[in-house]
């Protein structure tokens, strides 16, 4: 299986000599997979997502997405990578208060130079309910996108949500992968 996302021996330290947030983690996610990342607070879940999204760089190791190294890119290339290839939903939403919800959604396309009207038209295509979706509807949207081939990596504390949206669950503990199961069975590394 060709991995879309691949972390190889990744270690991330926020302070020199400090406890690593991720410790020699190797993980491969195939294109179209839906993976839930679970673990207690401080286990490294957000750090892992930040590395995949190019929001941060590993201290050691490599991060590869679609065959291209992410960890060595410049800030400008990382920004373009995020606006074109990565969609993010933050734990604390992180919406821009000065913009409407629609403008928040349109922003990546507009940063790429797409005029507002064309960006609106594109966003309206997949589903007409995006403006009023909430909760389960957002979840259903994610499932629909995954079914259409989008790769999904989500962080959750809830085993129920993990089971609903993902077939594969990676558990982190103290910065290391404690378990990696696919529908309850261990994934071969």
């Amino acid at each position: 299986m060709d991995a879309l996302i691949e972390l190889s021996e990744v270690t991330k330290r926020y302070a020199a000599g400090g406890v690593p947030a991720l410790d020699r983690v190797s993980l491969a996610v195939a294109a179209g997979e839906a993976v839930a990342v679970m673990g207690p607070s401080g286990s490294g879940k957000s750090t892992l997502l930040n590395l995949v999204a190019g929001l941060d760089r590993p201290s050691v190791g490599t991060v590869t997405v679609a065959g291209q190294r992410v960890d060595t890119r410049s800030e400008t290339r990382l920004a373009r990578y995020r606006r074109r290839q990565v969609g993010m939903i933050f734990q604390f939403f992180n919406l821009l208060d000065d913009l409407s919800v629609a403008d928040n959604v349109l922003l990546p396309a507009q940063l790429a130079g797409t005029p507002r009207r064309r960006a609106r038209a594109r966003c309206a295509e997949p589903t007409g309910a995006v403006d009023t979706a909430a909760g389960a509807e957002i979840g259903q949207l994610l499932l629909d996108l995954n079914a259409a081939g989008q790769t999904l990596v989500l962080v959750t504390h809830s085993p129920e949500l993990a089971g609903r949206y993902a077939k594969r669950t990676v558990r982190l503990l103290d910065g290391r992968i404690a378990s990696d199961t696919f529908s309850g069975r261990d994934v071969e590394s």
């Binding site: 607070s41 930040n50 941060d56 606006r83 821009l96 208060d97 000065d98 403008d103 922003l107």
Partner: protein
Amino acid sequence: MNAVLKAAVAGMARRLTQTVVIFVVLAASVTAALVGLALVADPALALQAVSARYHTADLAVTIDATKATSAQLARTRHLPGVTKSVGYPATTIDITIPGEPGYEGGAPVSGPVTVVGRASRSGPLDGITQATGHWPARLGEIDQSEFSNARGSVGDVTIATVTSVTGKPKLTIVGFAFPTTQDQTQDTWALPGEITALEKAGAPRQEEMLYTFSHASTVAQVVADLGELRTALPAGAIVGYSSALPSASQDIMGHGIRESSIVPYAIMALLLAGVIIASVAAAAVTAGYRRIGVLKSIGFTPAQIAATYLMQFGIPALAGSLAGTALGSHWALPYIQENPAYKVHVAIPVWITITVPAAMLLLTGLAALVPAVRAGRLPAIRAITAGQAPRAGQGRIAQWLAGGLPLPRPVTEGLAAPFTRPSRSAATLATLTVGLTAAVLAVGLGTQVTNIVLSIGVAYIDRSLFERLTWLVVVLAGIGVFSTLLTQARERVRDLGIHKALGMTPQQAITMVLCWSIAPAIIATAIALPAGTALEPVVARAIVSAQAAPAENMSPLIPGRGRGAAARNARQLHQQQVRNGHQPGRPAPAMQGFFGPLFNTAGRSPYTPGELVLLALAGLAIAIAGALGPAVWAAGSRTTTVLRAE
């Protein structure tokens, strides 16, 4: 270390940029204020003090020695009002100097000159300064006054022919010099023996008498002194006279106008400093709410919180004030002492070096007091939980409107951003408006004052201080913009992080932050340009009114000459200079009714169209320059840190 001081020092280190901004702002504003006050309070401006410092006679009088006996001349030395006197042999002759290409149109120069026989330049009552060439070393050589109306040119043409005596002898011009004041009775100098030779050839026998009087500080006093001399001498004996009062008063007026014009710069710098410090202080408290909450939680009282913030601003303010005092003294002193007539050492009064920094510290304290007290009164839990609370709804209309413009998204977001943070934007706008108005006023005032002072007759004005203070004001405005925009960038760091997470490149982040300053810059320019250009003549006229209006009418002291034609020439020249109002390099002999022309000069616009265009663009330049630092900081800020993903 005291807990409050410890907290203040820690706060200063944590907000190093803010600390440096306060230091620089105080240093710059104290410099400007000290220079302005020191120059206005310049003790040498007092006429009496200046008179004592000028090495010159109060009156120079040319006397027809055929009408007054030696005894009568000697008696004038002991008149009740006379304190000192000295006499030199003199004569008045007509000379012709051949034309020189490039000088006076190449036409020959002719006219009467009074030649005074002196062995050397310095005398008991006056000193003559050699400008070019040298003092006569032998008979046949003359040294001409720079103020002479029949003046040759040392260099190619140096021979003057005496046309009013037998034999038409030739005299060699070996140099040009000028007396301390514009003494028009001494046109030319030669060795005493030359006077004897000219008299033998038929030149009139005259005596050049110099007097100082116990009272010669006003026109009335000098007129009375002259009257005393006329009474003591036979009628018609006095054929010419020159008073030091017009040129001394002219010099003082020129200095007074020049030095008073520094005051507006000082006021502008103080205004800017007040605006900037108030903005920095308010932002520091708002940004430090969480820190305030923590301090309260561990036991700081409201008074201690207020004291912490007052010290956090006060310590860099004190350091800045001291630095500004040193720098201001360094700038002001050479400016005061530049006039070679001031032969005494002039120091900046101690009260100025204490008052100015103390006043600026007080201003800082007042500007910081309100936010510091507010910080102290904030309930602890509110302070801890208060933060960058969402302000839903603010500025969305502006964002929506800007989003419809055919411009890149970072530009439209940046243009609309000021409307989403009205109070912060108001601080940026206030700083830019005050700073740009100050720059417009400073540029115009510098040119205007130069025109006014030169039209009075001060031959040279050093514009370097004007230029330095203008740049100081402009830099202060830039610092103000930098400070307010950096505060905005820090407050919006979460939004910046989201933008970057969604794909905004560092270059786009820089563009967006730079655009934060554009709308305020345009509004500030629209206000400042007309305000500054309208204010300039008001300020210039106020300066002239303060300095020139009280000046005495010197017309009773206009120098006269021995012969009718010469006297007419002198008066015509004087009137022409007054009408022209501006004669660079050619001093006006007196200031008859000078206030009117000066007032009119002050009311004319000194701005060229090119300058107005540049000033209009200056606002944008200041805004972008001030925004660059915060923009680069925004581009480099760590996305993961600010987003607090978990």
